[in-house]
Symmetry: C2
Subunit: 462 residues, 2 copies
C-alpha cells in the first residue's frame, strides 16, 4: 500500500512519541502518564477520522474509538480491535543501553533496524501497526473497508481489573463480528501466526475426609485410613501407561486434528526437545503416541496444580490427617464440555473411594476450548490476506492455554477473537532493552491493511 510506504518516517515519529510516555500501570507514580497515553491514543485516532473517547473506569481509562459508516445496503463487516497502551516497569534501569522512554533506532546484526524502548513491542509498537494501517486506508480511500471499533485498555500489565466490569457495562456498544488482537507473536521472523486453537479450562478442588480428627500415627497407624494415601492412589490412577486420562467419558467428543492440520503442524518443525529443555525436562510426559505440539494444541489433560494434607511445617509430626486436598485442572479441547469433564472426575472418585473416606468438591468451573473454523470466511480472509504480495503464508497455530482477553470477549460479548501479532520471541518484552523490528512494524501495518481488506471482501461475498 503506497500510503504506508510514503508515511514511513512519520509513522516512526508517531511511534516514538507514543513510546516517550512512561505509562507504567502498576506504579501509582505514573498514573498521570497513563492518562496522557490514553489521551494520546484518542487524539491520534481522532486525527485520522475516528470518533474517539477516553472512558473512565475505577482504574486506568479505556480508549474507545469508532469508524462506522451508515450504509443503505447490507450491513458492513465490523471488527473490534483490542490492544493496550500501558507498559511494564523498566527495572532494572541500569541494564538498559539507553533510557527506556527515549526510543532509539539502532542497527542490529540479526534483525536490521530495530527500535529500542519500553513498550516497543508490548504493546505500543503492535497497536500502532493497526492504527497506521487504518491511517493508510483512510488516506488512500477516504474510508475503511470494514467498520472498526478500537478498544485500548491501560491495565493489561497489572491484571486488567477494569476490563470485565467495562465489558459488562458497555458490552453492547463494543460487540462486533469478530475481535482482533495483536498482543501475540509471529511464529518466527519470517512467518506470521494466527492463533486458531486455544485449549479450554476446567477445575475442581477435591478434599478427601477420613478420620473425624487428626490421629497420632503411633496410636492409630495401621488400622486407620489415611486420606493422603487415598489421594495418592486417586492421582496415580488418573493416567494409564500410555499417558491417556482414564476418567470415564473424558475423550467423548474429542476429535483428532485433520490430516492436513497435523501435516501443517509437522511442517512448523516445532522443536519439542528445546521447548522442554528450556525448563529442565527432556522426555515428553504426555500421551506417548502424540507429538509435543499435538499434546499442547489438540489434546486434553488433567493436572494436579496443588496438593496439601497433614503436617507441612518444619521437622516431623507423626499425624494421620483428617483430610487431604488437591486442586485439579483440566485443559480442554473442542468437543469437551467442562461440566461433563468435571462430572467424569466425580464418577471416577466415587468408584474408587474406599470405606471411611468421603469427598467434597469446591471451586469448580471452567470454559470450553476455542477452535476456530479455519474454513470460515473471516478466518480464510485473514489468513489469505496475510500472505498477499509474496509474504509467507501464516502459520495456523494453537495455544495450550486460555487467553483472558479471548475468554472475556467470548463470555462477555459472545465474540470470537483472532490473535494476529508481529512480535518475535527475542523482543525482550518485560525485560531491559525491549525492541521491535522495524520490519515487524512495517510488515505488521501492511498485514493489517490487507486483513481489513480481506474481511471486507469476505463480508461482501457472504
Amino acid at each position: 500500500m503506497d500510503a504506508l510506504a510514503e508515511g514511513r518516517a512519520e509513522a516512526l515519529a508517531r511511534l516514538t512519541a507514543f513510546l516517550a510516555i512512561p505509562s507504567i500501570s502498576t506504579d501509582p507514580a505514573y498514573h498521570g502518564a497513563c492518562l496522557e497515553a490514553a489521551e494520546w491514543c484518542a487524539g491520534t485516532l481522532r486525527e485520522i477520522g475516528f470518533e474517539a473517547r477516553v472512558e473512565p473506569t475505577d482504574g486506568k481509562p479505556m480508549v474507545v474509538a469508532r469508524w462506522h459508516l451508515e450504509t443503505a445496503g447490507a450491513p458492513r463487516a465490523h471488527v473490534l480491535f483490542y490492544g493496550h497502551y500501558d507498559v511494564q516497569p523498566p527495572d532494572p534501569l541500569e541494564a538498559w543501553t539507553a533510557p527506556p522512554f527515549e526510543a532509539q533506532i539502532v542497527d542490529d546484526d540479526i534483525h536490521g533496524k530495530i527500535i529500542v524502548a519500553r513498550g516497543a513491542s508490548d504493546d505500543k509498537g503492535q497497536v500502532m501497526t493497526f492504527i497506521e494501517a487504518c491511517r493508510a486506508w483512510i488516506a488512500a480511500d477516504g474510508t475503511l473497508p470494514v467498520d472498526v471499533t478500537v478498544l485500548l485498555e491501560g491495565e493489561e500489565e497489572s491484571g486488567s481489573p477494569s476490563l470485565e466490569p467495562f465489558l459488562r457495562a458497555h458490552g453492547d456498544s463494543l460487540k462486533a463480528d469478530i475481535a482482533l488482537s495483536c498482543d501475540t507473536g509471529q511464529w518466527d521472523a519470517r512467518t506470521p501466526a494466527i492463533t486458531a486453537f486455544l485449549r479450554g479450562l476446567a477445575f475442581s478442588e477435591v478434599t478427601l475426609h477420613g478420620p473425624s480428627r487428626d490421629l497420632h500415627s503411633g496410636i492409630y497407624g495401621g488400622p486407620a485410613q489415611n486420606p493422603i494415601r487415598v489421594l495418592g492412589e486417586l492421582i496415580a490412577g488418573l493416567h494409564d501407561e500410555t499417558g491417556r486420562v482414564t476418567l470415564p467419558g473424558f475423550y467423548d467428543g474429542v476429535r483428532d486434528p485433520s490430516p492436513a492440520q497435523r501435516e501443517a503442524w509437522r511442517a512448523l518443525n516445532f522443536d519439542g526437545d528445546a521447548f522442554l529443555d528450556e525448563v529442565g525436562l527432556s522426555v515428553p510426559a504426555g500421551e506417548t503416541d502424540r507429538s509435543v505440539v499435538e499434546q499442547l494444541w489438540s489434546r486434553p489433560t488433567i493436572e494436579v496444580n496443588g496438593i496439601i494434607g497433614g503436617y507441612t511445617g518444619p521437622g516431623t509430626k507423626t499425624v494421620i490427617p483428617a483430610e487431604a486436598s488437591a486442586k485439579f485442572s483440566f485443559r480442554l479441547v473442542p468437543g469437551q464440555e467442562p461440566a461433563k469433564v468435571i462430572d467424569g472426575l466425580h464418577r471416577y472418585i466415587a468408584q474408587r473411594l474406599p470405606a471411611d473416606v468421603s469427598v467434597t468438591y469446591r471451586g469448580e468451573g471452567g470454559s470450553p476450548a476455542v477452535g476456530f473454523d479455519t474454513d470460515a470466511p473471516a478466518f480464510r480472509a485473514t489468513a489469505q490476506a496475510s500472505q498477499r504480495n509474496g509474504a509467507r503464508p501464516p502459520s495456523i497455530v494453537g495455544c495450550g492455554a486460555s487467553i483472558p482477553i479471548v475468554e472475556a470477549f467470548r463470555t462477555r460479548l459472545g465474540m470470537d477473537a483472532l490473535l494476529v501479532g508481529f512480535a518475535l520471541e527475542d523482543d525482550k518484552i518485560h525485560a531491559p532493552n525491549e525492541k521491535y523490528n522495524l520490519t515487524s512494524f512495517e510488515k505488521g501495518a501492511r498485514s493489517w491493511a490487507r486483513i481489513l481488506a480481506g474481511l471486507g471482501e469476505a463480508n461482501g461475498a457472504a
Copy 2:
C-alpha cells in the same frame, strides 16, 4: 501389706496435700507452685528416709531421691522410678464440680469412692502409689527390697524440654537396672497392664524435583512432567492389595508374635470396632490378615504424615510445580533397623522415578522398637508380683507409639523402662473433673510393694 492398710487415711491426706499445689508447668504464673510441688515431693521422700534433692534445670527443677544400701555381698537390684509433679491447666474452670485444687472424695456410681482434682490421676495420684509403697516397706521392714532412685520432673505437661539435657548431664548417677514409670493406665478396671511392646519410629521427608521452575499448565500441560503426579504414584505403590508395605526388605527381621502372645491378645477382647468408631472409622485399613491389635502392636507401617506441592492458597492457579514433598514416617517393630528401612524407601523411589524427576531427602532418622523379653527375670517378677494375693494377672500389652520417656531412658541411659500404671480410661486426665479411683490408689500402692519385692527376689535368684 498391713502397713498400707493401717496408713490409708494418712496416705489420702498426703495425696490431698500434694493435689492442693497448683503446679501448672505451662503457665509462668504458677512457677512458684511448681517449685513448691518439687520441694513437697523432696520433703515427703526425705521424711520416709530417702536422700532427696531438688536439682535446678533451665526450666522446672528435677526431684532426685535415693534409697541405696551399702552391702558387702552381691549388688542389689536398682530401679529408677520416673514420674512428674506438674499438671495440666484446669481450664475450663466452670466445668469443674468443685475447685480443681481442692481435692474432693466423692461416691461414684461405677467406681465407688473417687478423688476429684487436677492431677488426681495424671500423675500425682500415680506417683503417690509408688511413694506410699516405699513408705510401707520402710515402716514394716526398715528398708526397701531393692535400691531405688526416684526422678520426678516438672515439665511433662509442657514437652519435657529439660529432661534430655538433665539425663545427659546426670545420666551416670541415675542409671539403674531398669526404669519404672507409672504414667500409663490399666487395661481395664480390674486388670493391670504392663506395656511390653512399643513400636519404633523412622522418618524421611521426600522432595521430588521436576521442571526447573513452576510452569504454566496451559503452556506446558501434557508434555511436562508433574512432580505431584509422580509423588501420587509413589504413594499409591507403597502398599499392595493386602495392605502389606512393598518397600524392598521392609519385613526383614520382623517376627510374628508367638502363638501364646497372640492368644493372650485375643483374650484381651480388644474392641477394634469401638477403637475405630471413636475416630469416625469403621473398616481397618491395615494388613487384611491381621487383627486391629496385631496391626497396632506387632506390625510395622509407613504413613504419609504430610504432603505439599504447587498452589495451595484459595482459588485456582494453573501451575505445574517444580517440586512436591511428602513427610513419611514408619512405625517399626522389633527386628527392624531404622536406617535399613529408610534405605528401602530410597531404593523403592530410585527404582520408580521417571525421567526428569530427581529426589532429595531430609529430616531422616529414627529409633528402633522396644520389645521386652517377657521371660527376663525382672519382667517375670513384675508380672507375677502384680497378681499375688488373688489379683488378676496383668495384661502384657503393646503400644503403637514410641513413648518419649522410654526412648530417653534408652538412648541417654541405656536402660529399658517398664510401664506399669493404674489409671483408667475414664479418669478424665487433661479434662475437667479429673479423678482417680481410691481402689486404683490403694491397689496401685499394693502392686508396687509387691513389684519391689519381686524385683528384689528376682535379683537374688539371678
